[in-house]
Symmetry: C2
């Protein structure tokens, strides 16, 4: 099967047409590059009695966990991201965790949905990658058609209730000149992790080997480039695995919720 | 004489009181840190028949030569920087160049004023240094009470008419985290050179030894810091020396024109 051809034809699908395919479980793949212009979101679902702690964790760690919205318990709908979106069905693939352990991947939540589940919708760096490319910068992971490089760090998140852990970062290499421009552009998107948290020496934030990411894939770093690090939406998943709630459901990495929110509507300036 | 005591008492002087002392030639010192909140300006004065080339040079090189205003030939006044300011008298010290060679330093332009002189008023990094400090960052040259470190580079300015040459940069060291914040803050001040043009490896822009600035003084760079480089108002002086106009008058470095323009009024965001 010619995957790139499939991606190309998918890219031209309207948001509504793609969502219908996802809801019918006929499309269960990555959403990278699909429906340009619209916010794709990270998801975290927790029982209501864990939700207050996680809400506070997001409030204390807004760079790693930029909160777009929170549902009422048992309600898989959230008007502000699109009234027609059923968050329990409109993601290509969900990951289910019990007591912090991965237990299942499923195309919808028919089996796992609970009346006490609260859904946290979090911003994603896909939004600012689009803005970087529109400003003429090269995003290496997109150029090389690889998943972005992600790393565990020694940057400590602010703990909240039962949630604590270190920040996960994504990395994109740029020349210093382009890095300065990337800092300006991503600063406009606090709901997509905003400005970088670090650049240059990986060891300064506890990364031992830049060529061996903890998540995603390695990308080439040219001789005149420095690695630039942004807070990453894998941070909450990392924290949730350590905190071991009885059940937790997330999107599968790279298979995001496509919302009705325009990326440009997230920009603060 | 206790210079720091003098600076302290001067810092409390009103803009008007300091300007009177400067106009009376009783104060001929540095203006660094005086009259906080107000734009201090770089000055370049040229005969009218050289002014069009220099105006075009500024237009082509807005980061190094951020133009605040231009006078009519023979008029040392410019309403938009303060109607009461006589630019030929209200600078502590002027430098005079003939055919690109430094020939005199004088406290006013009584002897050198000509009816064909056009004055270019250019922004200065003093404006963004104040904004950096107000955001809690440490500006090393101010902390160490030294003139900022400045360097010739191999970054080529866009030539215009008889004017051509390389950019001069100023350098301030920061940790990567603070450098990211400094990029955000200085981006708000395009009329004070704006965002940095480079950070990190000095050799990448043609600086051989970071510890030996071409102008100003060296400052300490801590182990966890990187040098961050901004376009510098010495660039036009560098270019003018090479282009050898019959006469050119500038302010003496560090002895700037204090204007009635609020630094905050320069911020674009």
């Amino acid at each position: 099967m010619d995957t790139s051809g499939l991606q190309q034809s998918l890219a031209s699908l309207s948001r509504q047409a793609l969502r219908e395919q996802i809801r019918a479980n006929t499309y269960t793949g990555s959403t990278s590059g699909l429906v340009p212009g619209y916010l794709q979101a990270n998801l975290v679902m927790l029982p209501a009695d864990w939700a207050t702690d996680f809400l506070l964790f997001c409030q204390k760690n807004p760079v790693a966990c930029p909160l777009i919205g929170v549902t009422e318990p048992g309600q898989p709908f959230l008007d502000e991201i699109g009234a027609a979106i059923d968050i329990s069905r409109d993601v290509p693939e969900y990951h289910v965790f019990h007591d912090g352990q991965f237990t299942a991947k499923v195309p919808d939540l028919e089996v796992y949905w609970r009346d006490d589940l609260v859904i946290f919708v979090l911003g994603c760096s896909f939004s600012f990658e689009e803005a970087l490319i529109q400003s003429g910068l090269t995003v290496r992971n997109i150029e090389q058609q690889r998943n972005v490089s992600m790393y565990d760090t020694q940057i400590t998140c602010q703990p909240a209730g039962r949630f604590h852990g270190n920040m996960v970062v994504s990395m994109r290499p740029f020349t210093p000149k382009d890095a300065i421009r990337a800092i300006q552009i991503t600063s406009r998107y606090p709901k997509a992790h905003g400005a970088p948290v670090h650049f240059g020496d990986p060891a300064a934030i506890g990364i031992q080997d830049i060529n061996t990411p903890d998540y995603g894939e390695a990308v080439d770093i040219h001789a005149d480039e420095v690695p630039v690090f942004w807070a990453c939406g894998v941070t909450p998943q990392n924290v949730l695995r350590q905190s071991k709630p009885p059940i937790c459901i997330t999107h599968a990495p790279g298979k995001m919720l496509i919302t009705d929110v325009l990326n440009n509507a997230l920009a603060v300036l």
